[in-house]
Subunit: 430 residues, 2 copies
């Protein structure tokens, strides 16, 4: 029996697009055999035809204008690897779905911004919108939530979703070097992009959290999310954390509490002996907490052409097998609207660092300020700075309402003995 | 549009069958919505109708003879939860596939013994043979290899595949109690069956390793596997391991080296700080090492009705979505025959414990015996036993050929100063 043939177009030929192009050509038989369907790369397109790429494009494969692909009748699957939430990527993906073509994309910015609209078009036109590569690269988390863990009512999903920031924090910890020095190294080694801002400021993790929320809770995309990056985590905090038995990780969290979705991204202190503390370097880890399964962990490489290609090929394979699924696990008519919770309503044990003038009565006033704001103190660590008349006071609080801790810090910020904006890092026991 | 309806029969109503029955009834709408297809439990059957079960069976659902289900035209999916490689389970699954019915099973003994024959019938009749629940319960490893990681050429798969033995070893380690005492506790707490022999002797892990090999390497089932259980691991070994910086875990391994498949199950010393050392209690963890993805880890609860039901429902959902796949990831016509490698040809750093009479020249003779057999020694730990004229010599070897180590132990076993059969535990650096 002749296998069904799918025609593929790859739009965007950067590192990932080129890697995928070569991988599909090299592994064509194997992928066809496993999915009992064959495929052909009929078109490719990119901004600059003459850029040097390590791929062999046939003459009739090249499209000078990527938008032509939307009108081609012999294209079944469009792979969008342009990037960016708006502009050409948006036009391409909307156009593809409207023209009843399956879409595979690695674009988390696009999905986290326009996913709701896109999934409606995909559902109406009965085509796949696949985006495994948009979240945690090679970690098959999208497919696991939608298929392997389909039975479960998920109440919490969290973890380390950004390889660059995780590399930076674990390198600072290991080598005892500054944030700026580590970033420079990371760019040099290819672990960070030339402009690593979205990795560092938490936006990249935020996009992933928004997507994972929809899949986990069958909700629509919620734009309400608390986002802090790692720019303000310095060596001193890392050294203090170690002294106190913690590691610092940039983590994303989404959970449903009292019918509200709480989404947040922030540097987090985790117990040194916990699983998550050991996830170092460019690795990603996703922890799904649900019923009846309990906690499930998936860990792997989060980025780079090879991990991303693994995800893209799993998406393409799903289409080849005719495994049409709702983009967000369930029909849009069944997705729910949750209201959003605020981080200020959550409870944390927190790490607070104050740089203060070394003078009589400071510690007393600090502890009084905490207790006035209903925050009780668990541990105090005071380090005088050498050759200065200042010292650093580190406080670990008992579990307290985040709004109370934030209020405490606001009050403290105004005190005459405070030299620098007080630093707050939240602690998680998971 | 009306959803396609699938009729389901559940055969076997023990803990898992009953839990699944209730779960499917309670979550019917949700499962139907997610898969865009509906289902109905039309029949159930079990050995003893009058056994007390916490489920409500309608009169017309009960089949007095499970074999009747094979002839029922209105049955699309048969869920086999009888257990055992032969007898009724075998008859049911062979019969179901021959009668073109989809099969979902949690039966690792059956799949690891008859999987090759069963998959041929399933492929010929274009029905699904799904067995996610047979390997590591709630950990969606089968689906991940077949779908999420489909792009990868896997060269090694290993991990902790048995919750009972992992519970026993971690409890012995934590509470410093004997093997027999721990087993008694585990049975009492429901972490081990009344007869835990297949968990303890390594057979359960061996069945899972055989299944994972086929999926990972696109091979046929290989019956050649080295299997050691945990019965001979005692408190002394656990204490020694801790002193030397290791934990002891029962692990399964399968890998392809020089076109041969090496399958093995044995208690293994792993670095205390490694990821796998931290996987405690009833948890399972599977590590997949492949290209282009690198190392991928999936961890979760390995057994029990809730974890198993999560897996069974993911299998049922796959059938509801019409996601027909080859049972072993690729057509039987494309599966490969590998020859089998022997553990004696592999290289390990090993832990050897010798109980010896405390007399002059013993250590010299021991070390000479190692070097005569081309095994070089890395560390020695000698503990005299209190109030006895014996002592224990623990040796950590450098990486050596397993056959050389085994020969060393055979030679040592014959020495007059050896009191007890020498103990060998292999070390893994992964």
């Amino acid at each position: 029996m002749k296998k069904k043939l799918y025609n593929i177009a790859i739009i965007g030929l950067g590192n990932i697009g080129s890697y995928l192009f070569n991988f599909l050509n090299k592994n064509k038989d194997n992928i066809s055999n496993k999915n009992n369907a064959s495929f052909k790369i009929v078109f490719v397109s990119a901004k600059n035809k003459n850029k040097k790429r390590n791929i062999k494009i046939k003459k009739d494969q090249w499209l000078s204008d990527y938008k032509q692909v939307l009108k081609k009748k012999n294209v079944d699957i469009i792979i969008e690897l342009i990037g960016g939430a708006d502009g050409p990527a948006k036009q391409l993906v909307f156009g593809a779905l409207k023209n009843k073509k399956h879409v595979v994309t690695a674009n988390k910015a696009l999905i986290s911004k326009y996913g709701d609209e896109l999934s409606k078009i995909a559902e109406k036109n009965k085509v796949n919108l696949e985006y495994e590569a948009a979240v945690c690269g090679g970690v098959p988390i999208i497919r696991s939530i939608k298929e392997g863990l389909i039975a479960n009512k998920i109440n919490r999903i969290y973890g380390i979703f950004n390889g660059t920031s995780n590399y930076v924090l674990s390198t600072m910890d290991k080598n005892n070097i500054s944030f700026n020095e580590t970033i420079k190294q990371a760019i040099k080694l290819g672990y960070a992009e030339a402009d690593p801002s979205s990795d560092i400021n938490g936006d990249d993790v935020a996009a992933k959290v928004k997507i994972l929320s929809c899949l986990s809770f069958n909700s629509f995309i919620s734009k309400n999310i608390h986002v802090e990056g790692i720019k303000d985590v310095n060596e001193e905090d890392i050294i203090n954390a170690n002294k106190l038995g913690y590691k610092i990780k940039l983590m994303g969290f989404s959970e449903v509490l009292n019918n509200k979705i709480f989404q947040r991204v922030h540097p987090t202190l985790v117990d040194k002996t916990s699983y998550i503390a050991g996830v170092d370097g460019v690795l990603n880890a996703v922890i799904v907490d649900g019923k009846p399964i309990g906690k499930n962990i998936i860990q792997g490489e989060g980025a780079g052409p090879s991990a991303t290609t693994s995800a893209l090929v799993s998406d393409i394979s799903s289409i080849l097998r005719g495994n049409v699924k709702f983009p967000f696990a369930i029909s849009n008519t069944k997705r729910k609207k949750f209201s959003s919770g605020k981080i200020t309503d959550l409870f944390f044990s927190s790490y607070v660092r104050l740089n203060v003038k070394d003078k009589y009565g400071v510690l007393t006033d600090v502890t009084k300020t905490f207790s006035n704001n209903k925050v009780s103190i668990k541990r105090v660590l005071q380090n005088p700075y050498k050759n200065k008349k200042n010292s650093s006071i580190v406080i670990i609080t008992h579990r307290s309402k985040d709004s109370h801790i934030q209020k405490t810090l606001k009050t403290l910020a105004k005190k005459s003995y405070i030299i620098q904006k007080p630093k707050l890092l939240r602690i998680e026991n998971s």
